[in-house]
Amino acid sequence: MLKFILRRTLLMIPQIILVSILVFMLAKAMPGDALTGAFQGNPDANPEQIEKIREKMGLNDPWYQQYGRWLGNAVQGDFGQSYVHKQPVTHLLAGKIENTLLLSFFTLIITYLIAIPLGIIAGRWTDTWADKIIVTYTYFAFATPIFVFALLMMFFFSFILDWLPYSGSVDIKIETGTWDYFVSRARHLALPVLSGALISTVTTIQYLRNDMIDQKLKDFVKTARAKGVPERKVYTRHILRNSLLPIAAFLGYEITGLIGGSVFIETIYSYPGLGYLFIQSIQTRDFTVVTSLVLISATATIVGTMLSDIILSIVDPRIRIE
């Protein structure tokens, strides 16, 4: 067990190093460097002086030296300066990370709150009208692109019904910490969270339904029934215990999916998180911010996948054999 976790964690290190090299290469391929922003629009900038500063900052060093320095700084939380905002990237990220985490956290909770009951209903009462409705729903959710769905949700709930706000994370002019502030935040979160959650339930529902249908035919279930275990307990004690555990393990993979989805959701709802910042930065060619965001997302994905693998191996020991 411990050996597996250790091996899986060690596997993560080359992955992170490779990703960081890839991101660094991309950053080098992007036009502009750390000095571009500082001298932009400054007519007094003397090319010779700039060259001197470049030399001093080590921008003319071979790439592996620059890479080492860049990675060293990034690990310590220093992602350089934003050209556009003229402030450290870390400052810029600070508030946004919190927003994105909040959005992802609630999206995950709502996803599971919807998906697990629906999956259980569909799996337990297969081929009833309830099952058919749920299957139709998963079918729609699977086929609908997230940005189309988010737009339609916004159009319907914010414009036609005028129930919920369509942009931002909180109304301006509301003091932090008050009850009104909390309500305003919740109302701003509602649509982005729902748009993301209603789409991302698919995998969980389908997995639960299929797995329960498989489990139902297994011998241990027949044995339980033959022993006279009440039908309700057959499900809660025997079938669900097997079917639900892997869901916990998919958590890490879900996080991976949320990162991609957040770009669309946050952009559509102008929600000030990392995904929206990514789109804004790339539009304004603010490449230090872009690079940091790609690096952060890639690391989050790698860690998420690793967590899922480890949880899965705890839940299902057969995986460890390899």
Partner: protein, 304 residues
């Protein structure tokens, strides 16, 4: 003596064909059996015909001409779906967009299909160390946040055209396919016909593509139909964000991208809503047909 033997063989082949109908026949039977699937197929064909034959009834040059006196007109008899910011007919844009979006999705699906298939077949056929190394590489590629990478590539590439767009998206579209093919190829390589062929000295490439591949073809077709829908979503999504097709090549995403200001979302819905609904309908249709194809490829799931 020779004649009857030849006849016999023909008969046997005919018999064999009766017993094992081709995949296409099975798919057709499965679709015919499912009313929703046949409805989806017909609807999809109508949409695609309308889009691909649009040059017959839409003057492309006039379509793209900007006329500011005529902008933001609501739907009318002359402009079925109104006009956009430049006074262009939205219905015409919709048809051109559908054509472009669909063509691009097909290209991406085909390129990704070929790359994924080759990668998966090689990994699965050789197995062992080759497979191990190739799978580690694939695992690494799969954890990359592909949407962000695609957007970054699109922004930094010079001379950006439709072709480069297709290539960039394809680079990130084959991973899942490769993994799927590889796991099936691994099972396949243990079977006798592969071993027999190896013993006879058939070149590996020939075994992979002419002996193994036909047995995986149904898997590939199912996967390609389902990813086709996903690729339409990806292209329109990227164009919606502003990182898709170069300007001047309308896509369904271009029309939806108008929905970026509250005023347009609410008061000029005819510009973006039809495109959003059309994408939805196309995706649902393709997925429904795809599900029928999936059932056809797996005898246990067949309805017909």
């Amino acid at each position: 003596m020779k004649e009857p033997a030849v006849l016999d063989e023909k008969k046997l082949i005919a018999q064999e064909k009766m017993n094992n109908p081709s995949l296409m026949k099975t798919i057709w039977r499965e679709i015919k059996h499912d009313k929703m699937a046949i409805g989806s197929l017909v609807l999809l064909i109508i949409i695609l015909l309308a889009a691909y034959l649009s040059p017959l009834y839409i003057d492309q040059v006039a379509q793209q001409r900007v006329n500011f006196f005529n902008n933001w007109k609501p739907p009318s008899a002359e402009h079925w779906l109104g006009t956009d910011d430049g006074g262009r007919d939205v219905f015409g844009q919709l048809m051109l967009g559908t054509r472009n979006s669909f063509t691009i999705a097909i290209c991406v699906t085909l390129i990704a299909g070929v790359v994924g298939l080759t990668y998966g077949l090689i990994a699965g056929f050789y197995g062992g160390t080759v497979d191990n190394v190739m799978m580690r590489i694939l695992e690494f590629l799969m954890v990359l946040p592909s949407l962000m990478f695609i957007i970054v590539f699109i922004t930094i590439i010079p001379n950006y055209t439709v072709v480069t767009f297709i290539l960039i998206v394809s680079i990130f579209a084959w991973f899942g396919k490769a993994r799927l093919i590889r796991s099936r190829a691994l099972q396949e390589r243990e079977l006798d016909y592969i071993n027999a062929s190896k013993t006879l000295g058939t070149p590996s490439l020939k075994i992979m593509f002419f002996e193994m591949f036909p047995n995986l073809s149904s898997l590939v077709i199912v996967n390609m139909t389902l990813t086709l829908a996903g690729n339409i979503g990806l292209e329109t999504g990227l164009t919606f964000l502003g990182f898709g097709l170069p300007s001047g090549t309308p896509s369904l995403g271009t029309l939806i991208a108008f929905a970026r200001t509250p005023d347009i979302v609410q008061n000029k819905w005819w510009v973006w809503l039809p495109a959003a609904l059309l994408i939805l309908v196309m995706m649902l249709c393709i997925n429904y047909v795809g599900q029928a194809v999936k059932r056809a490829s797996d005898a246990r799931q067949r309805l017909a």
